[in-house]
């Protein structure tokens, strides 16, 4: 390799790398602005609550003097922007307030419930990706055949059936009638008090410590809710994969690949799908986010002790600090996933590098 050529290549790559870094910094800046917007949102909701935050602390029977003192202590006499600054700086240190219902710091509560949701949504997404992408590819390649029709029906059901109802029907059939699967919950009662999960990820901890009976029990419990979330993820991912693949397959470079005499399999999986991956990265991220949403309802159906259940029960108990903390966490996770997908897609696609 001649020196001059390697130098120019390196120079070009360096420029490209700088462009990539700039782009990522920009994306991160947008993420920070978005996070700020979310904080404004939760702050205004907290201010908007019809219940008096002072009364919630001191109780109905407190004297006017106590009330005024607490009112001052909580900083409610200060201007709005000061209150917001206090709120935001508290959030930044991980102080999400205290849950009135559980009497714990919201931050600790969230740390406890989040892994359960994370486990569920991740397995759901894995199912969705592993089944949805091949299904979408086949539907695009065999356009108009029964595979395509099947993917259309799966997609329509996914867009039209409420996840909580499908979950209930699943429980009704596989648990109540057939008794193939265990009922709601993460583990059987027998294990619930004997098994200590360190990370909160039951499957992971059980496998790590070699407690295979716990592992299989956890598998049986997670099967139905994860399959359910996986189905909705698959419905979305397969439809998007199909449409991206149809777009790629109509491109000129596919004709080039055919002219080169490549096999159909290579053309589909190596050329078309790899190009379709570029927009699919974003789709998988979106799907992961919507599974967080779906898990709220799924957790209610399956009594899954995760973030969604925590959020719902906080709302039912008008435990606003807890509810807003959970909302904020969902938002932050969402933001992080979007950021991650943006970086991944820039790294994957040479045109954006």
């Amino acid at each position: 390799m001649s020196d001059s050529s390697s130098y120019t290549t390196a120079g070009m790559r360096w420029l490209a790398f700088r462009r990539l870094v700039t782009a990522i910094v920009k994306t991160a800046a947008v993420a920070v602005i978005t996070l700020f917007g979310l904080t404004v949102f939760t702050f205004s909701i907290a201010r908007y609550v019809p219940t008096d935050p002072v009364l919630a602390v001191v109780g109905d029977k407190a004297s006017q003097a106590t009330y005024d003192r607490v009112y001052k202590e909580m900083g409610l006499d200060k201007p709005m922007y000061v209150q917001f600054a206090t709120y935001a700086s508290r959030l930044a240190t991980g102080d999400f307030g205290k849950s009135r219902f559980t009497q714990n710091q919201v931050f600790d509560d969230l740390k406890r419930v989040f892994p359960a949701t994370f486990e569920l949504a991740t397995i759901g997404t894995l199912i969705g990706v592993l089944l949805g992408i091949p299904l979408g590819v086949l539907a695009a390649v065999r356009r108009g055949t029964w595979v395509d029709q099947l993917s259309r029906v799966i997609g329509l059901i996914g867009y039209s059936v409420p996840i909580f109802w499908l979950g209930l029907m699943g429980l009704l059939i596989f648990y109540a009638y057939l008794d193939w699967l265990p009922g709601p919950g993460r583990l059987d009662i027998a294990y619930q008090y004997t098994f200590e999960s360190e990370t909160g990820l039951v499957l992971f901890d059980a496998a790590r410590t070699g407690q295979w009976d716990v592992f299989f029990d956890a598998c049986r419990h997670i099967l139905l809710p994860a399959a359910l979330l996986g189905y909705f993820s698959m419905a979305y991912i397969s439809r998007m994969t199909r449409s991206f693949m149809l777009n790629e397959l109509s491109q000129e470079y596919i004709t080039t690949a055919r002219v080169k005499g490549l096999s159909e399999a290579r053309i589909i999986w190596r050329h078309a799908l790899r190009n379709a991956f570029v927009p699919l990265i974003t789709v998988v991220a979106l799907s992961y986010g919507s599974l967080l949403e779906g898990s709220v309802l799924t957790e209610m159906v399956f009594a899954w002790p995760g973030l969604g259940q925590y959020l719902t029960s906080s709302l039912m108990n008008t435990d606003m600090d807890a509810a807003l903390g959970a909302t904020l966490l969902v938002g932050i996770v969402f933001l992080f996933i979007n950021l991650l997908s943006d970086v991944l897609y820039r790294v994957y696609d040479p045109r954006t590098r």
């Binding site: 909580f164 209930l168 009704l172 986010g289 509810a323």
Partner: protein
């Protein structure tokens, strides 16, 4: 040209008049375009099926008191008529309070239709206006609005709606409000994207050279062109809105019992689902059928109104 009758050379065939390739007036051209759209739409069986479902929903909602055999919120007898299986008297049985499930389902269509109607009425104009204005003017207006839509689009709709409902207290009105707050940004985004492509067209420049004001350009030329893709999106969104309304009802923070909202019905019946599965099955199926109807209708509309995105 001046009178409609002049443009009717032979009143024999409306079809011919509508499908002519040389319309004599703007009105004829426009009607012809609608007719052609309808012809394309009606050739699509699944779209027609969706339309039929939606029409049925509307009919059910309008004529609910006449269709439903019983009062949906009055018990048929707490001792005698609780959890009856389906029969000739109670087609879908009764629930734990002795309410007739079929009557509740029929009346539930009113809440579903009302919810999506109000959401559409509130959010479509807001989304259209914000989207077209920020797309047309660009600059700081655009930046601010798009950051706001970013915030909303970056987070799951159900969770945002839950937080809003949490602040205002449970209830169907608050649920509808919360969904509206979370629904408009998507329409604003679409309208903005369309505006950006329309804005730089030569015919817009031509209108501007003729001295048309910005407002006139936006309302007279840009909004009508954005409308079709926004309508398609709104229709497809209806299905999602139905599901979110039902989801909030199911979580107990949407419509409150004994309101016969379908999600609330599923929630109320889930504890007895093992032995009395008809309540939960029928209420759930009602949600599925209606949102399927909107999905099919939206797909069909997209094929006709927005062929660009339909190809994908």
């Amino acid at each position: 040209m001046s009178t409609p009758s002049a443009s009717l050379p032979s009143p024999v065939s409306w079809r011919e008049w509508l499908l002519t390739s040389e319309p004599q007036s703007r009105r004829q051209a426009r009607l012809g375009r609608y007719y052609r759209g309808w012809l394309a739409f009606s050739r699509n069986p699944s779209a027609m099926f969706g339309l039929a479902i939606v029409l049925m929903l509307v009919l059910c909602a309008v004529f609910a008191p006449w269709i439903a055999p019983y009062d949906p919120e009055r018990t048929l007898g707490l001792q005698t008529a609780r959890l009856l299986p389906p029969s000739a008297q109670n087609w879908l049985g009764t629930d734990i309070q002795g309410f007739d499930v079929f009557s509740r389902l029929i009346n539930g269509s009113r809440f579903t239709l009302m919810a999506i109607f109000i959401v559409a009425i509130i959010t479509t104009p807001i989304g259209l206006l914000i989207g077209t204005f920020s797309g047309y003017y660009g600059g700081i207006v655009d930046a601010v609005f798009m950051r706001i839509t970013d915030v909303f689009l970056a987070f799951p709709r159900l969770v945002l709606a839950m937080a809003l409902v949490g602040a205002r207290g449970p209830g169907l009105e608050n649920a509808i409000f919360a969904i509206s707050v979370t629904a408009w940004p998507a329409y604003a985004r679409i309208a903005r994207a369309e505006t950006l492509t329309i804005r730089n067209n030569d015919y817009i420049a031509a209108i501007r050279l003729q001295g048309a004001s910005s407002l006139r350009i936006i309302f007279g030329h840009i909004i009508p062109l954005c409308l079709s893709s926004v309508i398609v999106r709104v229709t497809l969104d209806m299905a999602g809105i139905i599901i979110v309304v039902a989801g909030l009802g199911f979580l107990g923070i949407g419509a409150q019992p004994p309101t016969p909202e379908w999600g609330t019905m599923v929630s109320a019946a889930k504890d007895q689902m093992r032995d009395y599965p008809w309540i939960i099955t029928s209420a759930g199926l009602a949600i599925c059928v209606v949102s399927l109807g909107f999905n099919l209708l939206g797909d069909g509309l997209r094929d006709v109104l927005d062929p660009k995105s339909a190809r994908n």
